[in-house]
């Protein structure tokens, strides 16, 4: 059967700027927004866009990610024809190698795209938080008869040097593209979401393979060379919420965007996730919870303000937690004070600890890595990372 569009989700990156959060798991599997993991967003977008075939390219620390993805059932991707496929690097008769870059990862899985006779290929990455109906972008791509369509979002000009920046004409045709330019010509940033015609994509990727200087990256190599080669490249403008959560600070900010309502999770466009069996949350007699989101299994006996709590978090009596992201099954001990911090899954913080400092846009939050035990009365200062 022929598929109109197959999605390829690049989920193999380490995400070094998330430090201890990605010591044991791939970036797309990092917890986000109380009950989600980052990868839930692109996968749910697929589910909500009628895309039923998704290849997830994994490489770095894939075990937890694989377990989380399973057969894709939470995202409606357990299909007899299509569905979710995890695509790790593999050995072949004549060698085989690790994925050398985003473009090379897709190139190595050309057989997957060919097997589904995908007319178009949607390339996604696993480090962005946004809700998007890809079917509209696909319609645009087809109506423009484009070789490649890139989703763009306008960013503040001072942030433009962090992105791939492009210029396009009135028809939307891209005339110029620069990856992380020092002097950006515009504020139209690439969201790292591309739709290619499969034949064009595979042509370009095999050309890239023959280029000895290539770093096999879409933004650095493939897109610029396609523009140079005169391919029909179009920009698809997106105006909703979109955030790259590749850094600790931006991950924290995106969590806080749920509290402020900037990121609206309850607008009817559902984000799906794999649920574990937790009982509903319980607020104790002396609990004081303000401006906070939480999901099942939490028990709060202390004070919580401006926080995002994942499943099974316990805040003991007298503890004060503010402006923080607390991930699954973490316990904050009695009378401990936690502020401006990101606490990873399974952390045990003892009694009377002091963690973190004042909220500071110039500084990363304090970070405590997975399954750490912090003894009673510890003091961990602003911006420290415990790995």
């Amino acid at each position: 059967m022929q598929k109109k569009c197959v999605a390829m989700l690049l989920a193999g990156g380490q995400g070094t700027r998330l430090y201890a959060l990605t010591t044991k798991l791939a970036k797309p599997a990092v917890s986000f927004g109380s009950k989600y993991r980052i990868i839930d967003f692109p996968l749910s977008n697929c589910a909500n866009s009628g895309i039923d075939t998704v290849g997830v390219l994994t490489q770095y620390q894939p075990m937890l990610l694989n377990e989380y993805l399973g057969n894709g059932e939470p995202w409606n991707l357990d299909r007899s024809h299509g569905g979710l496929h995890v695509l790790p690097p593999y050995l072949a008769k004549s060698g085989g190698e690790w994925y050398k870059g985003t473009a090379n990862a897709i190139y190595q899985n050309a057989a997957f795209l060919n097997a589904y006779k995908a007319e178009n290929v949607l390339i996604l990455s696993g480090d962005h938080i946004y809700k998007m109906d890809y079917s509209q972008m696909l319609e645009y791509h087809i109506s423009k008869n484009a070789d490649c369509t890139i989703a763009v979002i306008d960013v503040p000009i001072e942030e433009a040097p962090r992105f791939g920046i492009m210029s396009f004409d009135d028809d939307g045709r891209i005339t110029d593209f620069a990856e992380k330019p020092k002097k950006p010509k515009s504020n139209h940033a690439s969201m790292g979401i591309y739709i290619f015609r499969r034949d064009v994509l595979l042509d370009e990727l095999s050309a890239e393979e023959r280029n000895p200087d290539s770093s096999f990256d879409f933004g650095k190599d493939v897109i610029p060379s396609m523009i140079k080669g005169g391919r029909a490249m179009y920009a698809y403008k997106f105006t909703g919420y979109w955030k790259d959560v590749g850094t600790l600070r931006s991950l924290w900010e995106a969590n806080m965007d749920i509290l402020s309502g900037v990121l609206n999770l309850s607008d009817g466009f559902k984000i799906f996730s794999r649920n574990k069996a937790y009982p509903p949350s319980f607020m104790g007699s002396d609990a004081r919870v303000k401006n906070t989101v939480m999901t099942a299994g939490c028990e709060v006996y202390g004070d919580v303000k401006n926080c995002v709590l994942s499943e099974g978090v316990i805040i003991e009596e007298g503890a004060k937690v503010t402006d923080s992201v607390i991930m699954r099954d973490t316990v904050i001990g009695k009378n401990s004070v936690v502020s401006y911090s990101v606490i990873d899954e399974g952390v045990q913080i003892g009694a009377g600890c002091k963690i973190g400092g004042a909220t500071d846009a110039q500084k990363d939050p304090t970070l405590i890595g997975r399954d750490k035990h912090i003894p009673d009365k510890s003091v961990i200062g602003a911006g420290e990372v415990i790995e």
Partner: protein
């Protein structure tokens, strides 16, 4: 030894007409995010039960919607798994009127199963217990039937619809008597029975042939006279939903940690995944001694209450000692005390509603007040 389950989802629902107006007793919501059947199914799954027959009668759409294929309990299987048994199945031409009739109407299903042991249960309670231990006991005792009982709670436990068993010193059942407050019969039947599947089929065929009408009045007393019937006691929290008052009382007990641990922590309780958003508590929220499920948006005060998934509590509203079902919307400045608000209830701003501890005020499903 492989074990299967057989659940009666409609028996005793006349005891709580309010809650069962729009659903069978098995799909009555309980504990913030569950339906009663979730506890039984989860207990069964934890005991490696691989086939569960669900006998339905009236009003079973909500139950079918909730259980679905059974995948949330890992019971969507190629062989066995969840099997819905609606009325008029097999060779029955009549809507069954008794438990015995109901079992007779599913005899073909029972004969087609391959499991050795069957656990038969009603679904008007919530409890978590280690079912495989009970099955082990049944096998070790070499019983024909094991009756699962719980000790009568000394004060105020509603028992008017219950039978109690009388046992000898070897825990063999010698009699069944109506449960009364002071007759010394303290072993209340839970209406969970364990037996061999082939034994059940033979027992039912034999009793039906001689024209017996009732399972509890005829078949069980007959079995106690003729066969080896043993008793197995369970302890821990057992919410027996015998009236709206009982429902309310057991719901309120969930604010006690030992009760929650007994119900939620001894067995992993699975339920239908709804993909609700996380619960949000706003700047005006004061939430104390309460259970709160996903998807709630709370801007007011909530004390000693149970909020199911997707409940909205408006600014300045005060909810005390109440149970609010899924997707109910309580407007600003409302005051609710001792209320049970059924699913999708909408209370307009400023309303003041109150029952009392022994008689909660019930607001039916989809009511707009």
């Amino acid at each position: 030894m492989r074990t299967m389950g057989l659940i009666f989802t409609s028996i005793h629902e006349r005891n709580v007409p309010e809650l069962t107006a729009a659903r069978s007793i098995a799909s009555v919501p309980f504990g913030g995010r569950y339906r009663l059947i979730d506890f039984l199914l989860s207990d069964m799954v934890a005991a490696n039960v691989s086939t569960v027959g669900i006998i339905t009668k009236y009003n079973f759409q909500s139950l079918m919607d909730h259980v679905g294929s059974g995948k949330n309990w890992d019971l969507a299987r190629k062989n066995g798994g969840i099997v819905f048994l609606p009325p008029y199945g097999g060779d029955s031409r009549m809507l069954y009127t008794s438990r015995l009739d109901a079992i007779k109407s599913v005899l073909i299903f029972l004969k087609n199963c391959t499991e050795d042991i069957i656990i038969m249960s009603d679904c008007d309670f919530a409890c978590a217990f280690n079912m495989s231990k009970a099955v082990d006991y049944f096998v070790e005792k070499n019983s024909d039937i094991t009756v699962i009982y719980r000790e009568k709670v000394p004060d105020g436990d509603e028992i008017k619809h219950r039978n109690a068993i009388v046992t000898d010193k070897n825990m063999n059942v010698v009699d069944i008597v109506p449960a009364q407050q002071n007759n010394g019969a303290n072993k209340l039947m839970t209406n969970m029975l364990i037996m061999r599947r082939d034994f059940l089929i033979k027992l039912i065929e034999r009793c039906a042939a001689v024209g017996m009408k009732s399972f509890s009045r005829d078949v069980l007393p007959f079995a106690i006279r003729e066969y080896r019937v043993s008793a197995y006691g369970i302890d821990g929290f057992f919410a027996s939903i015998e009236s709206l008052q009982a429902y309310f009382r057991y719901s309120m007990q969930l604010t006690d940690k030992t009760v929650r641990d007994s119900l939620f922590k001894s067995v992993e309780v699975y339920t239908k995944v709804r993909d609700s958003v996380p619960c949000r508590m706003g700047d005006g929220a004061h939430v104390n001694n309460s259970i709160v499920a996903d998807g709630c948006v709370i801007e007011g005060t909530v004390e000693n209450s149970i909020l199911f998934r997707g409940v909205k509590i408006g600014k300045g509203a005060v909810i005390k000692n109440s149970v609010i079902f899924q997707d109910a919307d309580i407007g600003e400045r409302c005051k609710l005390g001792y209320c049970i608000a059924d699913k999708k209830t909408v209370i307009k701003p400023g309303k003041n509603l109150s029952g009392c501890e022994t008689l909660p005020y019930f607001i039916p499903k989809d009511t707009v007040l």
